[in-house]
């Protein structure tokens, strides 16, 4: 609950972030690397890119593209296992968007029984920036996400006249530590509960009736079967468990996997339950809009539009779902 508010000038925002880094906090934020905006640790405020959407989503902070589960060493008839410890203590993720927060919210639901990932999700402090404009392909508002507000974050930054309005909760207070006299109670216009969103979610659920629709063939035509949509998605969680090592030692890793790839479901016998891109695209769309409604109670697309920008054919997952329902 964002219950407090202060005002920062441009200068104050910068010195606040630089101050956090100086105090030894790990600050992760959107930076440009090789022309690509992505989340990475920053060393000073000027590295931050705050007017662009990142290509890769913030899930990387919690679920990196490969992560070590444990290391092992083998001797003659003995195996030693040591769990890899990595926590997000002392980590501040700055420059999240409301859609990223929705994504983390979904991840918290999905990983509710995995202690390691859940702990990671709940330890870092999130600093969100409200979106002023829409980015290429964004459709979060269509799915009922307010691009100007997020109640799942610890700190919310909104641009205002001559600076920034900062809203925060108790956890946010820890990293902000403002002068008590500056703090005002938060005055955010909370979005009015949108009835049409519930209707829309129920409408999207009708996709399950269209499971055998011929239109899947048409929407899947553009899909080339790469994993770019899944890898940039803030809510895609599928992973692969792989070992890297030799006869003496090595490590077991989890690494991203994508349902668009043919190998994803292929059995060792050669049988593939989803033999072509038609089934794979259908699974992806149904999973995002239908299946998670039943399993986690909400749709798992947050409308960030990253997959649309990353897709080689720029397929629009939301429009395709609507096209099927037509």
């Amino acid at each position: 609950m964002l219950n407090k508010q202060i005002h920062y000038s441009n200068q104050q925002l910068q010195s606040w972030v630089d101050g956090l880094i100086y105090k030894g906090k790990t600050v992760i934020g959107p930076v440009k690397k090789n022309g690509v905006t992505c989340f990475s640790e920053i060393k000073n405020f000027n590295e931050l890119i705050l007017n662009e959407r990142t290509v890769y989503s913030a899930k990387e902070v919690v679920l990196p593209k490969y992560d070590i589960l444990f290391k092992f060493a083998k001797e003659k008839d003995k195996v030693f296992i040591s769990k890899n410890e990595n926590s997000l203590n002392n980590v501040i993720v700055i420059g999240l968007r409301p859609c990223d927060n929705e994504g983390f919210d979904y991840l918290r639901l999905f990983f509710k029984s995995d202690p390691d990932i859940l702990q990671k999700l709940n330890t870092f402090i999130s600093v969100t920036i409200a979106c002023e404009k829409k980015f290429d392909g964004c459709f979060c508002e269509e799915l009922g996400i307010d691009k100007n507000y997020s109640n799942k974050t610890d700190v919310l930054i909104k641009t205002s006249e001559n600076g920034y309005d900062i809203y925060f909760n108790d956890r946010g207070n820890e990293i902000l530590s403002p002068q008590a006299s500056d703090v005002k109670p938060a005055e955010i216009k909370k979005p009015v509960p949108n009835v049409s969103i519930d209707n829309k979610v129920a409408y999207l659920k009708k996709l399950s009736e269209q499971y055998n629709s011929e239109k899947w063939k048409i929407v899947s035509m553009g899909c080339l079967g790469c994993g770019s949509c899944a890898f940039v998605c803030p809510t895609c969680t599928c992973f692969d468990v792989q070992d890297e090592g030799n006869t003496q030692n090595g490590q077991r890793l989890i690494c991203w996997d994508a349902c668009g790839m043919g190998l994803f479901t292929k059995h060792a016998s050669g049988h593939n339950p989803r033999p072509s891109q038609v089934e794979r695209r259908r699974h992806r769309i149904m999973h995002k809009f239908v299946y998670t409604q039943d399993t986690e109670g909400k749709i798992s697309c947050v409308g960030c539009g990253r997959c649309i920008a990353a897709c080689p054919a720029h397929l629009n997952i939301y429009n395709q779902a609507l096209q099927i329902l037509q």
Binding site: K74, S113, P115, G245, T247, K266, H267, P273
Partner: protein, 278 residues
């Protein structure tokens, strides 16, 4: 140290049995006695067997939960992990995570007859139940086992088949596909569905368990239905590509169901409700 989902039990291979061409059975015992004490499973569950530095692979637990000293797994070499497993010898250390998945509701079957239908490498998941039923003695009614493979060489658990055939509680029908027999072969010749029709087990008060290649399952189900088995009295265990075994990695999803979490045991009724993605 915090618990983690992915850290396996260490198991020592105490026995290696060559069942058939490319099919092996391992008997595994816990390295740490505490693990053994904490471990229990029920018929129908599976585990993730791993060979360190090669990876993990999913098989069912083929031994009965009534035999607590060890677990057994039977696998056919197909990929990277199973090939590496096949090279293992007695005394090697494997990793094992589990047990995962749901179980056969055997408590509800007390007093009922049971029909097992298996094909090829589909016998190991049922073997767990068969031994469980046999070990529990008179709790269950009569047992019929119909098992088929391509050829005599590909039949698994050859010794146990002999043992079962001597048991008065068991009607055993072993069949090989036409062309897979040799002159000494005394069992049936023909496909599993035809053999079921020939034996025609009674459907009253009877549960059917089926596991094998998809085409065999499909045709056998028709025969079982003809014999009067209702769909919720037919159980099958599904298998999909799996990586985590705990409903997280997303590989085994069939529609919104996870084979690893909601399965692998499904009644035929449940299977019919699933989309055709298994």
């Amino acid at each position: 140290m915090e618990k983690s989902w992915y850290i396996p039990y260490k198991m020592k291979i105490t026995k290696v049995i060559n069942e058939a061409v490319n099919v092996k059975t391992f008997r595994l015992e816990f390295v740490n006695p505490e693990d053994k004490a904490a471990f229990s499973f029920k018929a129908g569950q599976f585990g993730e067997y791993s060979i360190f530095s090669e990876g993990e692979s999913t098989f069912c637990i083929a031994s009965s939960p009534t035999r607590k000293d060890y677990i057994e797994c039977t696998f056919r070499t197909a990929g990277r992990v199973t090939n590496a497993l096949a090279r293992c010898e007695e005394g090697d250390i494997l990793g094992f995570r589990g047990p995962y998945g749901n179980v056969f509701p055997m408590n509800n079957w007390a007093g009922k007859n049971i029909v097992f239908v298996a094909g090829g490498i589909g016998l190991p998941p049922l073997r767990c139940v068969i031994w469980n039923v046999l070990d529990l003695g008179d709790t269950f009614g009569h047992i019929t086992i119909v098992y088929g493979a391509k050829s005599i060489e590909e039949l698994v658990y050859k010794d146990e088949l002999k043992e079962w055939s001597k048991n008065p509680k068991v009607t055993l029908a072993v069949t090989v596909d036409p062309g897979g027999e040799n002159p000494e072969w005394k069992g049936h010749i023909g496909f599993v569905p035809d053999v079921i029709r020939k034996i025609a087990p009674k459907s009253e008060n009877t549960i059917a368990l089926i596991c094998g290649p998809p085409i065999m399952i499909k045709l056998s189900l028709t025969v079982l239905n003809e014999l009067g088995f209702s769909d919720n009295n037919i159980y099958s265990t599904l298998e999909n590509r799996m990586k985590c075994g705990i409903g997280q990695c997303g590989h085994c999803m069939v529609g919104k169901k996870y084979v690893c979490k909601d399965g692998p045991v499904f009644t035929n009724e449940e299977i019919k409700a699933l989309p055709l993605e298994y």
